[in-house]
């Protein structure tokens, strides 16, 4: 499918989801949906570097927070007066994306020449360095945190949360389209060679460092864009909660549970895990969320290394047509029977 067609289909689905959410008539749907969509963007962004290139980024929180704090900085610069009418969310997203993208690039430039593990550890370090800077930067609230006042209404759409939801939805569509575009382009094949065997790729003339830097910049930029509207959503931004590892574990778990090799995986993982967490928050407690995520992550990487997408593909492959599949399964069972018999019969 060509990209424009894909984009149109995505937009139609997005419009349908938005209309459906409106039809429910409860704004809580938008509050919960916003978080899930945010995870769709974060996990898709993580997957561009993590899944396609095989470099694990533990700094999702850092890039996300960079986006969020760019917004706070702009908010403080302009003053509390009618900001959303002055600077619309897409512009904030753009600024957040540029800031995070540049940091992602710089970060990659320092560490992507080293082995993968070093990059992962350096991303952890980056999160703490940036957090320390923000904590000590009083202009954006410092350790006390920053208040951002959310406008009540948005013309045409109604409650402001609906507007935020819509913006995040569009960003999610954009992120997925970019991921899919990368996957089927020269860039994507280059990424795949890095993931499979970096040394061989380098030897065959693939410009590995340049590709990795591209991936780091795109991935960081998308994370920053996802973070940009966040201050308006949450109302009160605090360094310790924004820079935390909670975003990191989610954005790693979702692609790995869904499947890392295509854009479908992070989407499935984010929808599934995101909804699960929203349900768990309402019904049990929010503390249990991370336990669920951790257990699922460990379970999946051990038992189903290719995620849900991998499981589905294996299932389809095992059964090309009904008849052949059944016969082969029968043969397997018959072949196993004699060996199993001595132990099974007393």
């Amino acid at each position: 499918m060509r990209t424009p067609a894909f984009l149109v289909i995505c937009l139609v689905i997005a419009a349908a989801v938005f209309a459906g959410s409106l039809a429910i008539g409860n704004d809580y749907v938008f509050f919960a949906g916003y978080v899930i969509l945010q995870y769709v963007v974060l996990s898709t962004a993580w997957n561009i570097l993590g899944g396609y290139c095989g470099y694990v980024n533990f700094g999702t929180g850092a890039f996300f927070a960079l986006g969020a704090y760019s917004t706070v900085a702009i908010y403080k610069l302009i003053g509390d007066s009618e900001l959303p009418n002055v600077i619309p969310i897409p512009v904030l997203m753009l600024v957040g994306g540029v800031v995070s993208g540049v940091v992602g690039f710089g970060m990659g430039y320092l560490t992507l020449r080293l082995r993968g593990a070093f990059f992962s550890i350096a991303t952890l370090a980056l999160a703490v360095v940036l957090e320390t800077l923000v904590v000590n930067w009083d202009f954006v609230g410092g350790s006390r945190g920053a208040y951002v006042i959310r406008p009540e209404e948005m013309p045409l759409i109604g409650n402001y949360i609906r507007y935020l939801f819509l913006m995040m939805m569009l960003l999610a569509v954009g992120a997925i389209t970019i991921a899919r575009l990368i996957e089927h382009s020269r860039l994507g094949y280059g990424f795949a060679t890095i993931r499979d065997d970096e040394l061989a790729a380098e030897a065959s003339g693939v410009p590995t460092l340049r590709l990795k830097l591209t991936a780091a910049a795109i991935s960081g930029a998308l994370m920053g864009m996802a973070g940009a509207p966040f201050p308006y959503y949450i109302g009160f931004l605090q360094p310790s909660s924004t820079f935390g590892l909670d975003y990191a574990i989610n954005s790693i778990a979702m692609p790995l549970i869904g499947g890392t090799t295509s854009w479908v995986g992070p989407l499935i993982g984010a929808l599934l895990l995101g909804s699960l967490q929203q349900i768990a928050t309402v019904t049990i407690s929010s503390a249990i969320n991370l336990l669920i995520v951790g257990l699922l992550l460990v379970g999946f990487v051990i038992a189903a290394p290719n995620g849900i997408v991998g499981l589905v593909r294996a299932y389809i492959r095992r059964k090309p047509t009904g008849l052949v599949g059944r016969r082969r399964l029968g043969a397997d069972a018959a072949g196993r029977a004699p060996g199993a018999a001595p132990g099974a019969t007393p």
Binding site: L110, L124, A127, V129, V135, N136, L256, L290, L291, L297
Partner: protein, 291 residues
């Protein structure tokens, strides 16, 4: 800012003391990451687990946390050996350790942490021991015993580890597995077994480090996160798997952190070790005493 000599001296001394503790925290990572190449990002979580073991035994039986930790090392060894077995079968054998192995340990980190939160809550826990209160004074320099005792025991622990690694058969086999697994196999030694033992030892050190941590400061489950970057910074700076390098790097980071928090305020201290890490990775990835 008023510069005073005794402030400087005290900052350096407390940096050395905290550095000794950092060395114990990092020794496990140096073993796992530096020598075995296993990126055990969950190590701090096991340290917190060690803290809670020390806390429970101290609260119910009143036994000294360090004694408890020494008694608990076999348990941690078994835990570590078990985890390595899962890691080996699920990731190393399939050649997927780089992406999924990392994710596995990251998941373990959260499972351990949240389980502790759900069971013990997020209250700060502390232990009682005779050396936690008093402080020795040498002129202007203060030596709080709650820092001194962990530092000394930690240096003893690292000396013991170094002796094991250089003088015993198992220790030399561990060093050899880092260099050439195939050669080890040709010598009729099972590299997986050696790595299992080494990883068990690595986790066993977390028991002691955990006890040190809860002696030095009250502990709650997510305290461990502060140590993730720090231990890796020390490990990389020390030269990946060199225990003497680890001690030097730990003292260095301890001193710089202590100076930073004395002269610029504690809120800047966390950035120090990470700044060091980024700098080391950018300038000299082999570390101070790298091979």
């Amino acid at each position: 800012m008023i510069f005073s000599f005794d402030l400087l001296a005290n900052a350096i001394v407390s940096g050395i003391l905290i550095g000794g503790f950092y060395a114990a925290v990092t020794s496990g990572v140096s073993l796992a990451f530096g020598i075995l190449d296993i990126v055990n990002i969950a190590h701090p979580a096991f340290i917190i687990l060690g803290s809670y073991v020390a806390y429970i035994v101290n609260a119910t039986f009143g036994i000294d946390p360090i004694v408890t930790a020494i008694i608990a090392t076999p348990l941690f060894y078994v835990l570590g050996a078990g985890i390595y077995q899962i890691y080996y079968v699920s990731f190393e054998k399939r050649g997927q350790e780089s992406l999924r192995g990392l994710a596995f340990f990251f998941g373990l980190l959260f499972i351990t942490e949240v389980s502790l939160v759900l069971y013990f809550g997020v209250d700060y826990r502390y232990v009682n021991a005779s050396y936690i209160g008093p402080t020795w004074h040498f002129g202007d320099i203060d030596l709080p015993l709650r820092m001194l005792v962990p530092c000394v025991v930690s240096l003893l622990l690292i000396a013991a580890l170094q002796l094991i690694l250089t003088r015993t058969f198992i220790g030399r086999a561990i060093m050899a597995v880092a260099q050439d697994q195939l050669a080890l196999r040709l010598m009729a030694i099972d590299p997986v077994r050696i790595k299992r033992i080494a990883f068990g030892i690595s986790i066993a050190t977390a028991s002691l480090a955990g006890a040190f941590l809860i002696i030095i400061q009250p502990v709650e489950p997510s305290v461990g996160r502060e140590y993730i970057g720090r231990v890796f910074a020390i490990c990389v700076l020390g030269g990946m798997g060199s225990l003497p390098g680890t001690v030097i790097a730990a003292m260095l980071i301890g001193i710089v952190e202590s100076l930073t928090s004395t002269f610029y305020g504690p809120s800047w201290a966390p950035a120090v070790s990470f700044g060091f890490l980024l700098l080391t990775l950018a300038v000299r990835p082999a570390g101070l005493l790298g091979r």
